[in-house]
Amino acid sequence: MASKTKSPPAAAIPHGLTREQLLEMYRLVRLTRSLEEKLENLFRQSKVVGGLFRSLGQEGESVASAYALRRRTDGTGDMLSPLIRNLGSMITVGATPAEVVRQYMAKGDSPARGKELNIHFTDYQRGFIGQISPLGDLVPVMAGVTLTFKQRGQDRVGMVYIGDGATSTGAFHEGINFAAVQRCPLVVIVENNQWAYTTPTRLQTAAKSFVDKAPGYGVAAEKVDGNDMLAVYGAAKRAVDRARAGEGVTLIEVMTYRRKGHAQHDNQSYVDPAEIDRWAASNDPIDRFIVTLKENEWASADELRAIDERIDAELDATIAEAETSPLPEPEEALTDVYADGPVRAPWTRHTPADPTQA
């Protein structure tokens, strides 16, 4: 911090970003990776209920794309719907590590109160809608969300994430087509991480590139290096601006790589390990961002280290606290099926009275 006044003028920061914003992006991406690492530890200790999905190597594009949204906490900002590997996007629009850890641990005070898993949760105030497992479904849903923005004359924008694999679903086609026809203010981020579980992209689509599909739907498109956070931010910002200006849907193909298995149980036997190593060694989004920040003197090593240390301490406290949270009460299973009170358990279950006694 001491050299701040004397340093030579730093290179101009692109896309109208400020130094503070760059540091915030760094904090978000670092937090995403550290949180996933901690979740992996919890998984190994059998404290995660169900599966765990890493976004290792993709954190940069998640954070940078969501960072282009107008983020508010009062329900007036833009909205996004993530995919399973978009922890970074969720964190960026304000989901907290405490919520995420509790979700994975199936706690009673998790946002979904134990009914749903991982990052499948919603908060309209902060602007995110939880996905469901059936792939593609959130594309038409976000078409509807953004249709409403348009109908109400709000200058709000929606962003929906879809994997290279999930672009093969009928829901994706119907959703993007609908949004295109209605000129919805929607940004569709196609994350081309080159794998869908074990299936390589060439078995998912015969198109050379996902941006090639855009003209077929009549939407704008851009392809971007997904591990270059500033490039992703730039592309997302342009698409968001277009949407806000009433110019409709943009498809952004984000080129990245899934460095871990589909989920923890997947040992990636079908992947050439050298390929993973190459991405890890020379194309890690955080490493690249750090180099950019330092080379341009937008941040110092000390500043970054201070951020890292704060994150670690905060996460340890968050997890310790989450571990003490209770699991939900069984009867929670009966709530929220309908608006007007819980459904009834049949008398053969857990209730002492039976109909012959009534």
Partner: protein, 344 residues
């Protein structure tokens, strides 16, 4: 095309060698044998090729039979179900995998509107098997634990099979592949690798006919009609009831839900005079309702007590352990309902 090895791998020769197999291995053997027997049989699904499927049911098949017969599809349930329908029109016998059966709903239109009505509309038979892992007890949450049978039970033209033992699983998957109608074949993932279900299967070719229930346990005091994972929960309950209450419980494993083996149900009810229907699927509109109504229509005079059912609750299936445990039928629920029936 990948190289075709002629030697069958060890993993699918267990029964030939008199070794016990799991329910999952039994299904793999069954599909394997049918593919060897009939070259019209081919497989499609997500990640089923080199990787052998999310649960490894199709492990080794692409290497052995070649990529044209074991096709890795895009994530497109409507697409590959429709493609299966088209191939079936051309005389093929496709077996398609839903990576989790929950995603069968994506293909609901294709299955119910197209496939199920094809023969009736004069477009010919649809000898397709649609198979996949189903069921709960694994903390899979709302989209990896479903039992969607009731959604299809109401669709004439479909057959629905849901085995509970390794022997039946093999015999039924073979029967399903040979069947000239579309068969939905549900595989309970909680049963896939249960060591207790390992059994030595006949070395020779056998099928288990579709549409025939099986008496899983003989008894005289009350009948439990059930299927899939609930056969085993009911068995646990029957043992408790025998030990603690001296009750003799008969368990009928339906094996096939559509068409329903009404005769087997009625015969057992006429013998024991008491009926408990147990299923893992949710209650309202579930298959238990249909079974109870048929017994009401045809065996009312034989009943000494109202028909009861134990089912999941009428909610989506939750994720957290206490919720899932509460939501799904447990052995003690069956014991409690059976006691009530016996004492009625």
């Amino acid at each position: 095309m990948s190289t075709v090895v002629n030697e069958k791998p060890e993993a699918v020769r267990m029964s030939e060698q008199g070794k016990p197999v799991t329910l999952l291995e039994a299904i793999r053997e069954g599909i394997w044998e049918e593919m060897e027997r009939d070259e019209r049989v081919f497989l499609m699904g997500e990640d089923i090729g080199a990787y052998g499927g999310a649960f490894k049911v199709t492990e080794g098949m692409q290497q052995y039979f070649g990529a044209p017969r074991v096709i890795d599809t895009p994530i497109s349930e409507i697409g590959f179900t429709g493609a299966a329908a088209g191939a079936a029109h051309m005389g093929m016998r496709p077996v398609i995998e839903m990576q989790f059966i929950d995603f069968i709903s994506c293909a609901y239109d294709m299955i119910t509107n197209y496939v199920a009505t094809s023969r009736y509309r004069g477009s010919g038979p649809q000898p397709i098997v649609i198979r996949g892992p189903s069921g709960g007890y694994v903390r899979g949450g709302p989209f990896h634990s479903q039992n969607p049978e009731a959604a299809f039970f109401h669709t004439p033209g479909l057959k629905i099979v849901y085995p509970s033992t390794a022997r039946d699983a093999k015999g039924l998957i073979k029967a399903a592949i040979r069947d000239d109608d579309p068969v939905l074949f549900f595989e309970h993932k909680w049963l896939y690798r249960r060591p207790q279900l390992r059994e030595v299967l006949p070395a020779e070719d056998y099928i288990v006919p579709i549409g025939k229930a099986r008496t899983h346990r003989e008894g005289k005091d009350l009948t439990i009609v059930t299927y899939a994972a609930m056969v085993h929960k009911s068995e646990e309950a029957a043992e408790i009831l025998e030990k603690e209450d001296g009750l003799s419980v008969e368990i009928i494993d339906l094996r096939t839900l559509l068409p329903l083996d009404e005769d087997a149900i009625l015969e057992s009810v006429k013998k024991t005079n008491r009926l408990l229907v147990v299923h893992e699927d949710t209650r309202t509109g579930g298959i238990a309702g249909e079974i109870a109504m048929r017994v009401n229509e045809k065996a009312f005079e034989w009943l000494d007590a109202p028909i009861l059912r134990v089912t999941a609750l009428d909610a989506p299936i939750p994720y957290s352990p206490p919720l899932e445990d509460y939501f799904l039928p447990q052995t003690e629920d069956i014991v409690k309902a059976a006691r009530h029936l016996a004492n009625y």
